[in-house]
C-alpha cells in the first residue's frame, strides 16, 4: 500500500516543527505519536504542526490531534498550527481544537506567537 501520510520533524532552536504530508487519518496515529515522543524526549516545549501539504483530514485524524494536544498540553507543551485550508480551519474551531493549538497564517507567525 502507498504511504498515505508522512511526518517529519524540523527543529529551529527551541521549537520543533512537525511537517505532515498526505492524509491525516487513523494512519497518522503512530507517526504523529512517534514524532511527539522524540520531540518531548529532547526537552522541547514548543511544537508547531504544519498542515501545508496535508490534502485531507478526517474525524479519526482530528481525534488523534486532539488527543495529542490535550495530553501534551497538560505536560506543559505549547502548540501552534499553520497551513490549514479555510474549510479545516472552521472544523478545528468548531471542534474546539483551537483553544489548545491556535491557528496562525504562516510558520513565521507561528514562531512569533510563542514569544
Amino acid at each position: 500500500m502507498d504511504e498515505k501520510v508522512k511526518v517529519d520533524v524540523r527543529k529551529l532552536e527551541d521549537v520543533a516543527i512537525i511537517d505532515m504530508k498526505g492524509d491525516v487519518t487513523s494512519l497518522a496515529d503512530v507517526p504523529l505519536h512517534g514524532a511527539m515522543e522524540s520531540v518531548v524526549g529532547e526537552g522541547i516545549k514548543k511544537v508547531i504542526f504544519n498542515f501545508t501539504d496535508v490534502s485531507y483530514i478526517n474525524s479519526s485524524g482530528i481525534a488523534i490531534l486532539i488527543g495529542i494536544v490535550t495530553s501534551y498540553n497538560a505536560k506543559g507543551i505549547n502548540f501552534k498550527v499553520y497551513g490549514l485550508t479555510p474549510h479545516f480551519k472552521k472544523i478545528f474551531g468548531m471542534i474546539g481544537l483551537t483553544q489548545y493549538a491556535p491557528i496562525l497564517k504562516s510558520e513565521e507567525e507561528a514562531l512569533k506567537n510563542f514569544a
Binding site: M1, D23, T25, Y56, N58, S59, S60, I62, A63, I66, G67, T70, S71, T85, P86, H87, I91, M94, I95, G96
Partner: protein, 153 residues
C-alpha cells in the same frame, strides 16, 4: 478510471447510484465524485467541502463500525439525488446497525481517556449538513441520508 477501481455507477432517472467496496482506499474517489456533482448543482466551494467531508465521514463510519473494520467485506451504496431545493445523498450499508441516539457535541476529555473519536464523526456530519437521518431496514440494510439545502437560482 472508475471501472479500473471496480466502482459501479448507474443513472436511475434523476438519481445517480454508485456502489463501492467498503474499503478506505476508495474514499478518495468518492470525495472526488461527490465534489464534482456538488459543483455541478451550483454549490459554493465552502458547501462543497462540507459535503465532501460529510460523505467521507459517513463511508468511513460504515467501514469502521458497521463492517467492524473488515475492509472490502461488503459494499457501500451511495445514491445522489438532486431536487429543485435539495441535494440528497444516501449511504447504504449491509452491516451492523447502530443507535444514533442523541448526537451531542464531543467531550474533549473522552479523547484523552478513551483514545477514540467519541462521536466526533457523527457530530461533524450533523454540523456539516442541513439534515441527517438514519434508518435500519429489517431487510438487512442501514441507510444514512445526508441533505444539503440548495439556494433558489
Amino acid at each position: 478510471m472508475f471501472q479500473v477501481l471496480r466502482l459501479k455507477m448507474k443513472q436511475e432517472g434523476r438519481r445517480i447510484v454508485f456502489s463501492i467496496p467498503g474499503e478506505t482506499d476508495y474514499l478518495i474517489q468518492i470525495r472526488s465524485l461527490i465534489s464534482t456533482v456538488a459543483s455541478e448543482v451550483g454549490l459554493a466551494e465552502e458547501e462543497l467541502y462540507k459535503i465532501e467531508t460529510a460523505v467521507d465521514e459517513a463511508c468511513a463510519n460504515v467501514i469502521e463500525h458497521a463492517y467492524e473494520g473488515e475492509e472490502g467485506s461488503k459494499p457501500i451504496q451511495i445514491c445522489l439525488e438532486v431536487t429543485p431545493s435539495r441535494l440528497i445523498i444516501s449511504v447504504k450499508d449491509y452491516g451492523r446497525t447502530f443507535n444514533p441516539g442523541t448526537i451531542n457535541p464531543p467531550d474533549l476529555s473522552k479523547f484523552i481517556k478513551e483514545k477514540r473519536d467519541g462521536g466526533l464523526g457523527l457530530f461533524l456530519l450533523q454540523s456539516l449538513m442541513d439534515e441527517i437521518n438514519y434508518t435500519s431496514d429489517p431487510r438487512g440494510y442501514n441507510e444514512l441520508t445526508l441533505i444539503k439545502y440548495l439556494k433558489p437560482q
